[in-house]
Amino acid sequence: MAECALKIRDISKSFFGIQALREVNLDVREGQTLGLIGENGAGKSTLMNILGGVIALDGGAIRLFGDKYYPACPADATRAGIAFIHQELNLFGNLSIADNLFIDRFPQFRRSPLIDKRSTYNQADVLLSSVDLRLPPQTPVELLTPGEKQLVEIAKAMRRESRIIIFDEPTTSLTAAERSRLFAIIKKLQDQGQTIIYISHTLEDVLRVSDTIAVLRDGCLVSAGPRDEYSVNKMISDMVGRKIEQMYPTRDTCLEAKPLLEVQSLTQPGIVRDITFQLHKKEVLGIFGLMGSGRSELVRIIFGLDPFSAGKIRLNTVNIPKPSPALNIRHALAFVTENRREEGLLMEASVMENLNLLTLGKCSKLGPMGLIDRMKTTKCTQQMSKQLNIKSGPIQKHQAKNLSGGNQQKVVLGKWLLTDPVVLILDEPTRGIDVGAKVEIYRIINQLAEKGTGILYISSELDELMGMCDRILVMSNGRLKAEFQRDDYDQEAILQAAFSASN
């Protein structure tokens, strides 16, 4: 039974002289779960791309259940029984769940090219119930939440009776509830004897699901072994190559009484109800809530992206009766949205253009709508890029889309920091980025708070909130449910408040 499902021997790959993988050896036993970790650029995605048939390997051999395996295209990998559940989901929003499940091979009427709709729906129902997703298979995928989409991806892998399922950062866009649902499904799969490779930056999750763990660094396999040999700290030190003493940096919390952001009875029917809170100078205020609890919607309303029907918003003691992004930016409010690809960055533009997008008016001659002072913008952006330690090529040319997730997030942050914000709203600032970058971002946030910026911090990582925030507000069903001071942090109590049903 303990046969090797996947045997990787001496795999190497280089791009134009850069060694991305160096003689990597890796075994995955059938029925087991391998947790694969490493920082961005460590070679995880190269390895996975080789397995998925996206790129070809330079040297070495792969055996899949004993057979030689050289995929030439993604379809080969699928045929060989390897299923990917990608970070950016490969689902078609315009099609229904059933269509997505069967897109490469529909059940057909015998000897005809026509799709057998009834059997498609029946089979889809079976698959959906096996991943515990109770939705009609005709539902268009674009209406699903990220968690539900993830489940559809898993159902798709199960439909193909894949021999190996590879999860690549599956939890980045999931809420706590969805995450536990996902783990329940993974557990179920493991019990059925499914071979799984699980890749994630959330090390606790990797520890939770894996049987064995492998760590990559700079294209080499640093260590591998059974889970029991690993702890979060060991994983981090293996990945980074040195010890990280402290995830969450400490900070003197001497709050000042001056409220920077005041929200009073903010209401928008169906979204948020009667929200009141204050954010003080030097404070990091966390908001915790499940996906759909209204936390992201709340800050979108504050920033003026969505409308509200009643309530008051005061920013730095100024009333903002009709907020709009432009007005808020003028009042030194900054907002790092939760999805940097869709709302944070211009992916085609250069790092510099992204960084100075908001501050063009400041660095211009002949008034705020005039000509751009190139010297000044170059200086400002280069300074910021250095300050945030953004790793990129020349910032005038390097496109944002060619940066790693962590660096992309730093660019978004830097763009807002250049506006010298008084209040900074962060919505999931560390989603999908590696440990090193996370620690750096935490440090930046702390520095800001110490300098007097008020920070509103939204996250679905409770650990992170408890590590970073002076105060945590809990939202559920569009209402504020509870408030915790740093001294009374209690994971269970916070979760309970977040899960509490309406009223």
């Binding site: 791009f15 134009f16 002289g17 850069i18 991305a20 920033f303 992206l305 709009s324 992004p325 432009a326 808020n328 930016i329 907002f335 949205t337 869709e342 709302e343 944070g344 960055l345 211009l346 992916m347 085609e348 533009a349 253009e353 997008l357 908001l358 063009l360 008016g361 211009s364 705020p368 709508m369 005039g370 000509l371 751009i372 190139r374 090529g393 060619n402 763009k415």
Partner: protein, 356 residues
């Protein structure tokens, strides 16, 4: 081997640079020159350039709309309407036989000419009217696209059929002749050795260049085209930026209308009837993306040069009229193919740079 490499470095740079379309055009020009020596004669060159200016004005306007992720199919009909209205303001005489059944006869024009005929301000006023109307129509397009959230293709397609219909309706199919000589001079005259059309369009291009490359507004155009959601989160007034792009396109159509009308010495309701695909084709061949966010003034110039040189060269060939169409299509296809190959090579190089 080393020699070979050094020899290749320069052309490699050219092929991968922004100026590839220009290089292609130049090579094509040389090739045709070898076959038809008068291709490079100064009269032909003057001709060739005089054909560049009005088309370039249109393509620059189109580029702004393409950059914000739209498309403006109504440019040619804007030309028609403004041409007719401008002529109605300044024409010196209207032929009663042709115009007396016109609904506007006696209202804004009569046998004695247009609204301001003979007046010293007639030509400036007419130019003002043409540009203002062009911008007005652009504004309506922009409003429908930005505020009413209608698809640009349909909005401007409808505008195209509406305004070209309107232009024909206004004059009941007739062309308006007898434009003042000072207006016609815009199309043919010169300031010293420099043709006035060149002066106008080059300054237009310079303004466009400054706006796009050096101004805050320019960056906003690109930002809106690349990602409108990021742009709006960043506090950019996206609606106004989109509307502005269409207004500018209308303005450029107005300029084009002035130049073409002056060349043809008439206000024409069918002005530029089949020019639309040349305009968009030149923009796309130049490298301006139909999906928004990408475009440069230089690229527009290259695209226009390509089309104009192509047409000019076809005009040299003593072959049947249908063969000309076939050759024209094939040359466009070849240019596009070379460009596609080039993009793929350039993409590979970017990966190499990124990995380094």
């Amino acid at each position: 081997m080393k020699m070979y490499r050094i020899l290749l470095r320069w052309p490699e740079k050219v092929v991968l640079s922004d100026h590839f379309v220009l290089v292609l055009t130049a090579l094509y020009f040389l090739l045709i020159w070898a076959i038809y020596p008068h291709m490079a004669g100064h009269r032909n060159l003057a001709n060739l350039l005089s054909n560049v200016w009005p088309l370039l004005a249109l393509v620059i306007g189109q580029m702004f709309v393409l950059i914000v992720g739209g498309i403006d199919l109504s440019q040619t009909s804007i030309m028609a309407v403004t041409s007719v209205l401008g002529a109605m303001v300044m024409a010196m005489r209207f032929d009663p036989a042709k115009f007396q059944h016109n609904p506007l006869w006696g209202v804004i024009f009569s046998e004695q000419g247009g609204w301001l005929a003979g007046h010293s301000s007639a030509v400036p006023a007419a130019i003002f009217v043409m540009l203002a109307i062009g911008m007005g129509i652009g504004f309506l397009n922009g409003l429908a696209v930005a505020k009413l959230r209608m698809p640009p293709f349909m909005v401007t397609l409808v505008a195209m059929s509406f305004f070209s219909g309107l232009a024909i309706y206004l004059t009941r199919s007739e062309n308006i002749m007898h434009l003042p000589a000072s207006f016609i001079a815009i199309g043919k005259g010169a300031v010293g050795p420099i043709p006035s059309a060149l002066l106008i369009v080059v300054s237009l291009a310079a303004v466009a260049f400054v706006i796009l490359n050096r101004s805050v507004l320019g960056r906003w155009f690109y930002a809106v085209g690349q990602n409108i959601r990021t742009a709006s989160v960043s506090g950019i007034p996206t609606d106004r930026v989109v509307i502005l792009a269409y207004v500018f396109s209308g303005f450029c159509a107005g300029i084009g209308s002035i130049l073409y009308s002056a060349r043809l010495e008439a206000g024409r309701p069918t002005l530029g009837r089949n020019l639309l695909l040349d305009v968009i084709g030149a923009a796309v061949i130049g490298g301006i993306s139909l999906f928004g966010g990408k475009g440069k003034v230089l690229w527009a110039v290259y695209g226009v040069l390509f089309f104009v040189v192509l047409d000019n060269s076809l005009n040299k060939m003593p072959i049947e009229f249908y063969s000309i169409d076939i050759i024209k299509g094939c040359v466009i296809l070849m240019a596009a193919l070379l460009d596609a190959l080039r993009t793929r090579i350039a993409a590979n190089q970017v990966i190499a740079v990124g990995a380094a």
